[in-house]
């Protein structure tokens, strides 16, 4: 058995246990997409800059492209598929829709995951703080303005506990 041979891996993703075999060198982003069929995690740069592949690692934003799948064992992984779905949307998803905070949509899952986690820690952010928090997610389409507006709106709704 060489260091490249697949090893058994158990991953807890969005509350579901996945048992699979993967080479130790396989990236979490590839395993999520190719082995688990969770293709909402997008790969934009594979060097940790663009933020499209952001997932939650025990609740904290992390780059799936800079993580090996084997490292994710015994941790809780949350992907975009945990947010919304079945016709419902999370506060950030709903606000991005209303404020036209997305165009091609490729960077959007990373932004949703990053900002849902960030708003949980920062319920009442100033605009400059939103821009700073968003600066780890590259968007080539929107110019960010509508994303920032959407995050502010989602924050306000979360504070009110009102309709999402």
């Amino acid at each position: 058995m060489s260091e490249f041979d697949p090893v058994p891996i158990v991953l807890n993703i969005n509350g579901t246990q996945y048992r699979l075999f993967a080479e130790p060198r396989r990236l979490l982003s590839d395993v999520l997409r190719d082995d688990c069929g969770l293709t909402g995690t997008h790969v934009g740069c594979e060097h940790g800059v663009c933020g499209a592949c952001t997932i939650l690692f025990d609740g904290a934003p992390a780059r799936a492209c800079l993580t090996y799948a084997v490292q994710a064992q015994n941790h809780e992984i949350t992907t975009i598929e945990a947010f919304g779905g079945d016709g419902t949307l999370s506060p950030v998803q709903q606000a991005l829709h209303e404020e036209h905070g997305l165009q091609c949509g490729f960077c959007t899952p990373g932004i949703v995951v990053t900002m849902e986690a960030w708003l949980a820690e920062n319920p009442d952010p100033a605009e400059a703080e939103i821009r700073d928090a968003l600066s780890g997610n590259l968007c080539r389409c929107t110019g960010y303005h509508n994303i920032v507006a959407a995050i502010a709106k989602a924050a306000a709704r979360r504070r009110e506990g009102g309709p999402t």
Binding site: H100, G143, Y144
Partner: protein, 788 residues
């Protein structure tokens, strides 16, 4: 009953749900069982002969299925011949992969196909290619010097295109003028950097002898034409299917060599083959854009009135021509004068090949235009010590001057440059700014205001292409069908990459048919379903696509109403209309329900055709094509306020305001998003982005840590004031937009920085306006009023 206007409503996007929930389907999300993965081995040299290739060890590596190079591809595919009959443009031809010589760092030499991408990349480590390095041509000056190394050995030199033009008598004006002003503008090399890189998946059906190409491409049908020809297939043997596209910006138009290689391998191996480039490949080897030097000379009178203007452009086109090399710079020259009256004009454009990645159009290929024109106006103002606002006013076209025939033959009409200019200055309150600027300068705080008046060429009709000597058509095609259940399907030849076509075009189709736009489904990107159109590029989508779908929907509405009239026993459909999926009849000036629904008519049309008017074909389908006017123009006025930290060279944009006139708007929400996005790309380019090659042609910007894109921190909030002057010649009244923002920001940001730095007596004439560049200008300079 009132008819609801649907065109122009700010409907939220239909596309969003799948995107925000991660259910978009981009290329890598398309599962093709048994697909092999391709990986390209690329040249590490800017210019070299391929001496030998040893693939024996790699071939033995785990999971490797095939390794092929230029010789194999030359047997399987036709070369690219770029030889349109354009005066001054040299024809070129190149093979699918290089055979003897590599021309830039990243030039693909071999393709390795393996069971997965990891194994293909492992095998690449085992390949041994020996090169004989050649001197590289890494900049324009070197490229055009006598005796320079040849990028393309088949050409006599590196001057791939040279065109000049004269109208009026500029020579005489310069001879007579007392004042001549010169200005220079260096635009850096950039790249599109869509967040989704390039990729494709080719499936060859050997039984049917049919190729299916899954690829995110802006122009599916022209792409199919290219792909089938170079695969030596006929067009009926190729289907192009575009999934959702994660950004394109002009990078996903051409048929690239990697894509053709993947298609050929799928056929040869009789196995599906897929490819996804990584970010380094995308930055180094996909397609670059821009990189030119523009110089102007203006003969002026004492008031700053332009008597004659000369433009010289030198453009660095890189190593390979996926487009005619004259195409980008020539548009700049044709539209340069924009909102200004210029009666004597000449241009000279030289385009050179270099040992860099090949160039192509990037959102606003003519991005430099407004910077050059506005920068020239500001140079005139500086030379004559006049207010640049007044110099603009002296030269600017007013409402009474329109329509205005530019000397290059383009007709400027239905634009409002003067109104936008004055409105923007008022909204910005320039006088208040000047007071604040003066007060802050005394405290050592340097603010500047930048102005940029943009006339944006938006939708290009076939007549423009013909006149400009560019091959191609400007038409677009679309169809609309009402199905027996009353459901509405529609399609157009454009492919979306974020523009919201599924929403805006549903609005266009819904209006004449009187249906809920949510019930209209727009089908894009499958060449077997969509009609042959010229695709999404420039700013044509809304105007060309919207107009053709409106036309098709109107044709279909007329058929529905003709059928309705027959069913209602009326002689004419003149007093009938569709509203809320019902047929309405006007009686005594009032619209009332005619007791017939759209579904009733559809059922008759499909299922009970003997009740149709005599001679009418069953079914409800309309297929139309539309060729826009030769050129539509939109206009905008950008005002940008910056603060420059002179100690560090850091530029902060404090305010950005634009007055924009793009005609009739299909969906203001979507249009606003395009305006923001375009301005952001312009700001990002003006401040940060730069593909850097060193003097040996080595690319030093192969990651997002080196090629900097603006984040939410650098892009300011953008205030947009909209004017809506419809174009009288397009069917919807829209003119097109989405590139003018790039042009405006490309001009407004340096204008603001130069205004801020005016006390130091320096002028920035290069982009990006990086801290290093601005410090290089400021070093040793002081503001005389703040001398310590």
């Amino acid at each position: 009953m009132s008819e609801t206007r649907i065109i122009g409503k700010a409907l939220l996007r239909r596309e969003d749900y799948r995107f925000v929930t991660g259910q978009g389907r981009y290329l890598d999300d398309v599962v093709v069982p048994g697909a092999l993965h391709a990986h390209f081995v690329r040249s590490p040299h800017a210019h070299a002969r391929i001496r030998s290739i040893d693939i024996e060890a790699a071939r033995q590596a785990e999971g490797v299925v095939a390794i092929v190079g230029g010789r194999e591809l030359a047997e399987w595919t036709a070369p690219l011949r770029m030889a349109p009959p354009i005066e001054g443009l040299r024809p070129v031809e190149f093979s699918t992969l290089p055979i003897d010589k590599v021309r830039f760092i990243g030039d693909p030499v071999l393709c390795i196909v393996a069971r997965d991408r990891y194994l293909a990349e492992d095998a690449a480590e085992l390949v041994n290619i020996e090169y004989d390095e050649l001197d590289a041509v890494a900049d324009l000056t070197h490229a055009l010097a006598p005796g320079a190394p040849l990028v393309d050995d088949a050409l006599p030199d590196n001057l791939i295109s040279h065109q000049s033009f004269t109208a009026g008598d500029p020579g005489r004006s310069f001879a007579e003028a007392e004042i001549v002003v010169e200005a220079a503008f260096h635009q850096q090399r950039q790249t599109h950097a869509p967040i989704e890189t390039r990729g494709c998946c080719a499936v060859w059906d050997a039984g049917r002898r049919h190729l299916t190409m899954h690829i995110g491409n802006q122009v599916p049908h022209p792409f199919r034409t290219q792909l089938s020809a170079r695969m030596r297939l006929n067009e009926a043997q190729v289907t192009v299917i575009c999934p959702d596209i994660g950004g394109a910006f002009g990078q996903k138009i051409a048929l690239y060599r990697e894509e053709l290689t993947v298609a050929a391998l799928a056929r040869e191996l009789r196995r599906p083959v897929r490819w996804r480039e990584d970010r380094a490949e995308n930055l180094i080897a996909a397609s670059h854009a821009r990189e030119d030097v523009a110089r102007t000379r203006a003969a002026v009178d004492a008031k700053g009135r332009i008597l004659a203007l000369e433009l010289e452009i030198l453009e660095d086109f890189g190593a390979y021509c996926f487009y005619p090399a004259n195409y980008l710079a020539r548009v700049v020259a044709m539209i340069l004068t924009g909102p200004y009256r210029v009666s004597n004009y000449a241009y000279d454009i030289k385009v050179a090949l270099t040992n860099k990645c090949g160039n192509g159009p990037m959102r606003a290929p003519m991005a430099i235009t407004s910077w050059v024109m506005e920068g020239t106006i500001e140079a005139i103002a500086r030379k004559l010590s006049l207010d640049p606002v007044e110099v603009r006013r002296v030269n600017m076209l007013g409402p009474a001057d329109l329509p205005y025939s530019m000397l290059t033959g383009l007709l400027l009409e239905d634009v409002t440059p003067r109104e936008a200019f004055e409105r923007a200055l008022e909204a910005f309150d320039l006088a208040a700014f000047r007071a604040r600027q003066a007060a802050d300068r005394a405290r050592g705080i340097y603010r500047g205001v930048g102005l940029c008046c943009v006339v944006e060429s938006t939708t290009y009709g076939s007549a423009f292409y013909k006149a400009a000597g560019i091959p191609g058509s400007g038409h677009e095609s679309g169809w609309v069908k009402i199905e027996p259940s009353g459901a509405v399907n529609a399609s157009v030849g454009l492919m979306a990459s974020g523009q919201g076509y599924e929403t805006t075009f549903a609005q266009v189709v819904a209006e004449p048919l009187g249906v809920d736009p949510n019930e209209v489904r727009i089908h894009l990107g499958n060449t077997d379903t969509a009609p042959y159109g010229m695709g999404s590029r420039g700013a044509r989508g809304g105007t060309a696509g919207g107009s053709v779908l409106l036309s098709a929907a109107q044709t279909l509405r007329d058929k529905v109403l003709t059928i309705a009239a027959t069913l209602l026993g009326l002689n004419s459909s003149g007093e009938l209309r569709l509203n809320a999926a019902r047929v309405e009849r006007r009686l005594g000036g009032e619209w009332t329900d005619a007791g017939l629904s759209l579904v009733d008519v559809a059922r008759v049309a499909y299922l009970d055709p003997l009740r149709l008017p005599p001679g009418m074909e069953p079914g409800l389908e309309a297929h139309r094509a539309y060729d826009p006017p030769p050129m539509t123009f939109s206009n905008s006025m950008h005002v940008c306020e910056v603060r420059v930290e002179v100690e560090t060279g850091k530029v902060t944009i404090e305010r950005y305001l634009v007055v924009d006139d793009c005609g009739t708007v299909l969906n203001p929400l979507v249009v606003r998003g395009q305006q923001h996005g375009a301005i952001a790309m312009g700001v990002s380019g003006a401040l940060l982005e730069e593909v850097v090659y060193d003097e040996n042609g080595q690319n030093r910007s192969g990651s997002f840590a080196d090629y900097l894109l603006a984040t939410a921190v650098e892009i300011p909030p953008i205030e947009v004031i909209s004017q809506h002057t419809p174009n009288k010649k397009t069917l919807t009244g829209s003119k097109g937009m989405s590139e003018g923002g790039v042009m405006g920001a490309t001009g407004a940001v340096p204008s603001a920085v130069n205004d801020a730095l005016a006390p130091f007596g320096v002028v920035a004439e290069r982009q990006p306006l990086s801290p290093m560049y601005l410090r290089s200008l400021l070093r040793g300079r002081t503001d005389p009023r703040n001398r310590p």
